[in-house]
Symmetry: C2
Subunit: 337 residues, 2 copies
Amino acid sequence: MDNTARKPTLKDVAALSGVSVISASRVMRDAPNISHQLRQKVEQAAVAIGYQRNRIAGSLRGKTTDLIAVIVPSMSNDVFPNIVDGIDDALKGSSLRLVLGMTKYDDTSEEAILRDMLTWNPAGVILSGLEHSDNTKEMLADFSGPIVQVMDIDGDAIDMAVGISMQEAGVLIAQHLFARGYRRIGYVGAWGERPTRSLKRRLAFEAELARLGAPIIASVILDQASSMQGGADGLKQLLARNLGIDAVFFANDDLAMGALFYCQTHGISVPHDLALAGYNGLEICHSITPHLTTIATPRYEMGHLAGTLIRNQRNGAASPAQKTIRMAQNLIVGGTT
Amino acid sequence: MDNTARKPTLKDVAALSGVSVISASRVMRDAPNISHQLRQKVEQAAVAIGYQRNRIAGSLRGKTTDLIAVIVPSMSNDVFPNIVDGIDDALKGSSLRLVLGMTKYDDTSEEAILRDMLTWNPAGVILSGLEHSDNTKEMLADFSGPIVQVMDIDGDAIDMAVGISMQEAGVLIAQHLFARGYRRIGYVGAWGERPTRSLKRRLAFEAELARLGAPIIASVILDQASSMQGGADGLKQLLARNLGIDAVFFANDDLAMGALFYCQTHGISVPHDLALAGYNGLEICHSITPHLTTIATPRYEMGHLAGTLIRNQRNGAASPAQKTIRMAQNLIVGGTT
DNA sequence: AACTATATTGGTAACGTTGTCATTTATAAT
DNA sequence: ATTATAAATGACAACGTTACCAATATAGTT
């Protein structure tokens, strides 16, 4: 349409409605102590000339923006889209908006993204996991707004943390497999275990198995991204070693599903010949037959809570007494173990 | 750490390095024609006092931010996370950053999000689909930056469009099912067909079937979100009508997978008793046995191209001659048809 | 040496809003 | 009617940067 014309500003609204600029400003942002009369005049004028607020200008004066920096590893992933969905829903109805960056599980990249995002003076920062580079930690320490680390709570939070215990997850699965009578247990991971969360899970898993007297037999950590194909490949590698493995814990459901399909097409009876367990509790676990044994993680809920925490502090609420919030994860026993 | 101290500004950097503010500014944003000497002095000073750019201030002067508004229906979804991943990758290395909003397939919500995002003066807008409310269209028309509509190209683009032909998809599947000999064909959709893309697919599918002389027998459009469970439910409803249906096209792979699992556990032989086809080409289609017949869509690539188009225009490139870019989608014939 | 073109630096004035303080007007209390 | 108090409005400056234009230094030409 009319791209040449200058965008209307508060000045224009003020001029048209015959009030001062600052009064127009007050109306536009619902400040207190405005007469009904004035409000009407201004609103009418604003609509008439199609006035749109300029948050940039407002933020410059106000020191901080309504942007929330959200840094996650990737979107092509089982868990982070749900988290982001949760965050966005929690922000709904507020003036806060989410700015997204993806690290691809790379610390240097995380650092660069955070550095860039901080130049926007965000109202808060949400990032995943508790492990970060020194530079990242330093930047966060200098940041004055609320910070929420999601997913992981096994470690020290910089400000707030919302997550599940990876430690607990590993123990849960180890105990379950042991209780079921499996004694020759293996593990398959991916991403070269760069997400330290899966590493924490595996270590706890191994420690618990050892404690129970059935130490882990073998592990395969794929370097590639997690995928169903990877799960099949990992399992194949594990079985090729002929160690008599009777159960395998996978770093996530994708890998486990791929392995399950592999078994189904290669005459390996699950769980009779081999038991399988995954992690995350994706819908497909309960849709397939047999149902996949897994641990359901509250992904959406973690995101939602993280968003809510930021939002509350934005609204002047004190930082919560409980800075680290542990969410529940549930072992879902399917027919694969 | 030290939250009380005022953040260092360009003025501080300039003072310390003994140059003018504007020169310091030039160094910080890599402007041309800077002597090595000056650059060194300024960079050194910036590091020394821990200077961080304030993009807000810069954007106010510069009229537009380095933010790209991205509006999608949802993240808990098969397609949009991949698109967002593609966009982000395309933006990597530039100063552009992605601001995300989710509509939940609601036009009013889309409108509100866009209105809000425009107050940040974004450098570009990416949104999904070609159908929008009048208000949304009006706001976009008034927006002076590049706009890319992703996913769909069957219709008129506001500025640029990157997508696949839903029309073509419907025809492809219809022809495939017909060629395979199926004549009593049904359809299952979800979300109350609010994503008009699935509607377009179905209409083209039905039209082609009619043209071929095997008009569609029945359809079920679920109101709920798309899910595997939904696919099973939809199929169940369809079969309950006892219409002798021999093939079903599903709005997406999730639904189709759910239906496939349902068949497998209810003694329905696929494809002998019933053929199934999905849409999207998720990895699971080729992992499961039988492989699911589907259409592979270039989700990541669409996002990447959308991001690249915005980025190019940001860099001063002329708007491309071809404003609507049709991407390829491939029928992948599995064992379910 | 005089002159032109180019590279480098600086000064000033916005950008559009809102925090702070001042002023006016309305309302309540004597 | 008068004073005290609160509500409503306004003026001004400042937020930190960069666009624009001017000035100076340097290199290249004849």
